[in-house]
Amino acid sequence: MSWLERIAPAPVGPALAVIFAVLIAASVLVAIIARRRPCASSDELALRVRSWWFMISIFALAIVLSPVVSTVFLGFVSFLAFKEFISLIPTRRVDRVVLFFAYLSIPAQFTFAHLDWYGMFVVFIPVWGVLFLAMLMVLRGQTDGFLRAIGTYSWGLLITVFALSHTAMLLAGGQAWNPGGGGAGLLLFLVGLTQFNDVAQFTWGKLLGRRKIIPAVSPGKTVEGFLGGVATTALVAALVGPYLTGMDWPWSLVAGAMIAVAGFVGDVTISALKRDLGVKDSGGLIPGHGGILDRVDSLTYTAPVFLHFYRFFFVG
């Protein structure tokens, strides 16, 4: 076994190598565009690609190091997303204790996922978390604004913590579900295709975009971008799915199309949130991308959708 295979065993190692090759190609392409037609949007594009280098490198490193490091990393992303959400929305001072407990649910939830304790993982936040937070708020005794507060906190927790923790569950549970590629193979399939789909929908929209698909929420999104993204993502999924997930190519194609559609829905859902709050980006954490929620918006939908799709059809 070579040293390369030891630190990055197949199929994850070669898959990461392909991702980095794509990244290098993107960097070269952006450099060429910047030289031919330097403008504000080419600067923005260069900034975005540079941030991709950071994000993909950190993600790859976490995946390669160990399952514990990966889970801590995924939990930290979830923490950042929840913090960004809580900082964006109006909150009541009396709810600081409630929010403190909401934060505590993050390490607990990711621990359940890491322990491959599916039964607890799947009820902890939607059942216990939501019931407990409402109880805590009632005990604090301020009913003014109660309904809006419990609604926003619960939804934020479901989207940024429960939904995103499906990535960690996929990683831990996948060891048994997917003997060939393991949890890392499933996670790479999900995250890689989700992010690829974002780029594909953006690119097709720029190239062919004519008809707006949902102008009231996200004026930049077009029917052509959406369909082009779904087709490209499904195609790539059919190519890599058998290798990473153990599904045959037709099933992989379906999974890829589902990820593409779910990713679109996640994207526009966070857009609706931002539009309601009157902000353009959810934060300024990632140069060229915005905040962390801007980057994981699609993943908040694709992670649960892909995990439950895979479990339903492939885990007995």
């Binding site: 950042l80 913090k83 900082s87 909150t91 001072r93 204790v97 403190f100 954490l285």
Partner: protein
């Protein structure tokens, strides 16, 4: 030894807390004074404010930073006073006009030694995320050392993460807005007008951050 403790406290506790857990975002970092003597004036809502302002600067400048606080901090004595004086590096000044001599003498001496002073002109920590009336001490200090640049800084979000009267720390995204430096025109009233307009500009940039 104390210097090592101080460095360790900032490198291992303050910076990771502010960067990783809070995720403090500094806007216009380039407007910060590169060297002393200089004065930083900021709004005050949280125990975290002093630490956040000190963490904006590179670690190697730590020895130059001197927060200014009312001397009653030290009067209580004990571990907290030792910590404030040696680890944070606070300079104590007496409150109000009473007493003999120049109450600002220690602050002036620090400026003469080329330090960067950190002051909270609101006096005490006010209502979270709400600007209180400024006190005039810093205007007198600027009058005594008229060449010293004064950099206004708006802290945003810290009063939600750790407001007055609680020890429960809850993470919120925090922002630090650094304004353009200004100098005194030689009068107390003129200085106050400049400082107030500098904070109005920063408030407009920062937007609202209060509780619902």
């Amino acid at each position: 030894m104390v210097r090592l403790l101080r460095l360790g406290f900032f490198a291992l506790i303050v910076r990771p807390l502010l960067m990783l857990v809070l995720g403090t975002n500094i806007r216009h970092r380039e407007r910060l004074p590169a060297k002393g003597p200089a004065i930083i004036v900021a709004n005050h809502n949280s125990h975290l404010d002093t630490l956040a302002l000190m963490a904006m600067f590179p670690l190697k400048r730590l020895d130059d930073l001197r927060p200014v606080a009312a001397v009653d901090y030290f009067d209580k004595g004990g571990a907290l006073a030792w910590f404030a004086k040696h680890i944070i590096g606070i300079i104590g000044v007496r409150r109000g006009q009473g007493g003999e001599g120049n109450p600002l003498a220690p602050a002036e001496a620090a400026l003469d030694a080329g330090r960067i002073l950190i002051l909270f002109p609101e006096g005490t920590r006010g209502e979270p995320e709400r600007l209180a009336r400024f006190k005039k001490g810093v205007a007198h200090l600027a009058k005594a050392r008229p060449d010293t640049p004064v950099t206004p800084v708006m802290l945003h979000g810290f009063g939600k993460a750790l407001p007055k009267g609680t020890i429960l720390f809850v993470p919120f995204n925090c922002d630090v807005f650094v304004g353009e430096a200004f100098r005194t025109d030689g009068t107390v009233d003129g200085f106050m007008t400049r400082m107030e307009s500098a904070f109005e500009t920063l408030t407009a940039e920062a937007g609202p951050a209060g509780w619902d």
